[in-house]
């Protein structure tokens, strides 16, 4: 039985680099700056989206605040041909996969249920039913095996999701077929109001050993550690070594969604404590200390963030609903005659209002 390692950490909250021979990572200055840029930009996007929701431009927004390193690190561990299966909160992963933020915004604006192309971006659509996508990821990985492809699959889930039977089934399938899938659990300490203790009294990473594959626990606010651990797991998957379960230990700094009121179930000082482990600040300190980032670079990234936010704002506000008749169009590849008839009736009904001049 494999033992679960302690929390893997390569960068302390104070920005000090920790050496860990089993989780080595060697990134160029460019790569490090790239990670920093992504962290800042996804946070900026997230802040903008929250503001847009408050202003009534989105129906809902689930902030990733605090989880930037977990998502950006995991996203960067993916190779172009890999496929990731997100929940509803993986905006950071979407960003790294090159999904246009406006496609994510359109979902939360209520315009569509996901406007990007998974085949093109390597990111499946957001999945809201917890954790249905973990089975999809596992099945997809079984397809990869049948194709003989060198592709790995990354399934995202939350700490709350670990209680759903479907996740256990996904883990059992992955183990039984040695499928090239990595389960990436962002333990952000809460499932809406339920603290992690309600779902498990032992670290979630322990779960994997009981299903017969390795579990790893990583500091989810340390982008380097997340990248190293996830890259290693995906490589193992690609090489036929089967699944890994990663618990990224992090914290949801914001509300569950913009509809939520976290003051009802958690104390301010807990949030304060986690603020000191901020994922962006620690990387910035490190880059500054190593002379990798100077004031110009930092300012440029900030500016880029403002531009991005402005673009997202403009784009979101401009988004119009799709014509209602489209609700009939993609239900089936081959539209059945009764539905076609219903569609025609719908159009006739709508037209009757136009005629009536209402």
């Amino acid at each position: 039985m494999s033992t679960v390692p302690e929390l893997v950490q390569l960068l302390t909250p104070e920005g000090q680099r920790v050496e860990d021979p089993t989780h080595a990572i060697d990134l160029s200055a460019d790569e490090l700056r790239g990670l920093y840029r992504d962290l800042v930009l996804v946070r900026r996007w997230d802040v903008e989206a929250t503001a847009l929701q408050r202003q009534g431009e989105l129906g809902l927004w689930p902030p990733l605040l605090g989880q930037e390193a977990a998502q950006v690190g995991a996203g960067h561990a993916l190779q172009p041909g890999d496929m990731a299966f997100p929940t509803y909160r993986e905006h950071g992963v979407a960003w790294v996969r090159g999904v246009d933020p406006l496609h994510v915004m359109s979902l939360y604006r209520g315009v569509d249920n996901g406007g990007w192309d998974p085949a093109e971006t390597g990111l499946n659509l957001y999945t809201i039913v917890i954790p249905a996508q973990t089975l999809h990821a596992t099945g997809y990985a079984m397809g990869v095996q049948r194709d003989g492809a060198e592709t790995a699959v990354l399934a995202f889930l939350g700490d709350g999701a670990t209680s759903q039977g479907e996740l256990s089934e996904a883990m059992i399938w992955a183990a039984s077929f040695s499928a090239p899938v990595v389960f990436f659990c962002q333990n952000n300490q809460y499932a809406i109001s339920a603290p992690i203790e309600r779902q498990s009294r032992v670290p979630l990473a322990h779960r994997a050993a009981g299903f017969g594959f390795p579990g790893v626990r990583v500091d989810g606010n340390d982008v380097l550690a997340v990248l190293a651990v996830t890259r290693a797991a995906l490589t193992a998957a690609r090489e036929g070594q089967g699944p890994t379960f990663i618990e990224a230990f992090t914290y949801r700094m914001g509300a569950h969604t913009t509809s939520d009121d976290p003051t009802r179930y958690r104390l301010a000082h807990e949030v304060e404590e986690w603020r000191r482990r901020d994922p962006i600040a620690r990387l910035r300190t490190h880059l500054e200390q190593e002379g990798i980032a100077d004031a110009d670079f930092l300012a440029a990234v900030e500016a880029e963030g403002e531009e991005l936010a402005a673009r997202i704002r403009r784009g979101t506000i401009a988004m119009q609903p799709r014509p209602a008749v489209t609700m009939f169009d993609a239900v089936y590849a081959e539209q059945p005659p009764p539905l076609a008839a219903q569609r025609d009736e719908f159009l006739a009904y709508q037209a009757s209002f136009e005629e009536a001049g209402r």
Binding site: V129, R322, Y349
Partner: protein, 326 residues
């Protein structure tokens, strides 16, 4: 007489509170119902007053909620499960259909299942996918379950208590978009029985049946129709399984025309069964087929299209027109 002006959400909250006061075996279970008071705050304050053993914040799994509720019921408790949103009841369908519904029959009545499954259901709140479903037909088609929906604070207050007191399993559908609507509730009244439908507006030309969120819509349609000199009788079905069609049959025999309204996709929805039964029972009185105004046979659309999906006043009136035109 103690009357209070209550929203439906608050009426449910008070009803739950009273049920818990009345019977120490009542236990509430669900995701986020304790500390948070539920995402719609229907259980607000109850954990504080009744403790964590009676208002149980569960792990995140609907089969687990309903499956453990079965066990609690077998031990003599009366569990009230909250499913956070309609679209998340499906992981629990196995427990509901193969266990909750069948245990009484399986045991020849030795074991009963006084379990209530509360589901905020339906659309109209601009939500993301899976938060606007109307799954009632799945449950109404399942023998062994009872299924009710409430349309107003009074029925909500009494209905939840009656459902909890009932010896049979009840799927209790709460029209989430009406949670904030208010009415005077007489807390000392003698309530109407739970498994009965009710005529809520008298009329002569067409009988309009609705339940849950659509009752208000049907009443709006009736008011609009009245202005054009057309008289609609509106029935709040209240109980979806068993159906209580006797008052409807009386009505339809008089009006000769009937329209059933619901949010759920129309095909194989409640309207189908109601149309089939009414046609059987009122065949010679019907001057038009029973018509349906419901959701289209498509997955619930994105929020910004839901207005066109959901039956509204105009859709009801359109169906009424068609019924009159036969």
């Amino acid at each position: 007489m103690t009357t209070e002006t209550l929203t439906m959400g608050k009426a449910l909250n008070l009803g739950l509170r009273r049920a818990m006061d009345d019977d120490p075996k009542v236990v509430l279970m669900g995701e986020d119902i304790g500390r948070l008071g539920g995402v719609f705050r229907v259980t607000d304050g109850l954990q504080k007053d009744f403790g964590e053993a009676r208002v149980v914040d569960t792990p995140l799994a609907e089969a687990g909620i309903v499956g453990t509720a079965v066990g609690l019921a077998l031990r003599g408790y009366r569990p009230v499960c909250e499913i956070q949103f309609d679209g998340f009841v499906f992981p629990a369908v196995n427990q509901i259909v193969t266990q909750v519904a069948k245990i009484s029959a399986r045991s020849q009545g030795r074991m009963r299942m006084p379990v209530v499954i509360r589901i905020p259901f339906g659309g109209g709140i601009g939500a993301v996918e899976h938060h606007s479903e109307s799954p009632e037909a799945y449950f109404a088609h399942t023998p062994g379950l009872k299924v009710v929906s409430v349309s107003n604070p009074v029925d909500a207050y009494w209905g939840i208590q009656q459902a909890i007191a009932a010896p049979d399993p009840v799927v209790f559908l709460e029209p989430k978009r009406r949670y904030w609507e208010k009415a005077e509730v007489d807390l000392d009244a003698i309530p109407e029985p739970l498994f009965r439908s009710r005529v809520v507006r008298r009329g002569d030309d067409v009988t309009v049946l609705a339940y849950g969120p659509m009752v208000a819509t049907a009443l709006q349609a009736a008011a609009a129709a009245a202005e054009e000199g057309r008289s609609l009788e509106v029935v709040d079905l209240r109980t979806l399984s068993p159906l209580d069609l006797d008052p409807v049959v009386d009505s339809v025999r008089r009006t000769g025309r009937c329209v059933v309204v619901h949010e759920a996709q129309v095909s194989h929805g409640l309207g189908a069964e109601i149309a089939a039964r009414l046609t059987e029972q009122c065949f010679h009185s019907l001057e038009a087929p029973v018509l349906r105004a419901g959701g289209y046979d498509v997955p619930y659309p994105p929020a910004r299209n839901e207005e066109e999906y959901l039956p509204d006043l105009d859709r009801v009136l359109d169906a009424v027109d068609r019924a009159m035109g036969f």
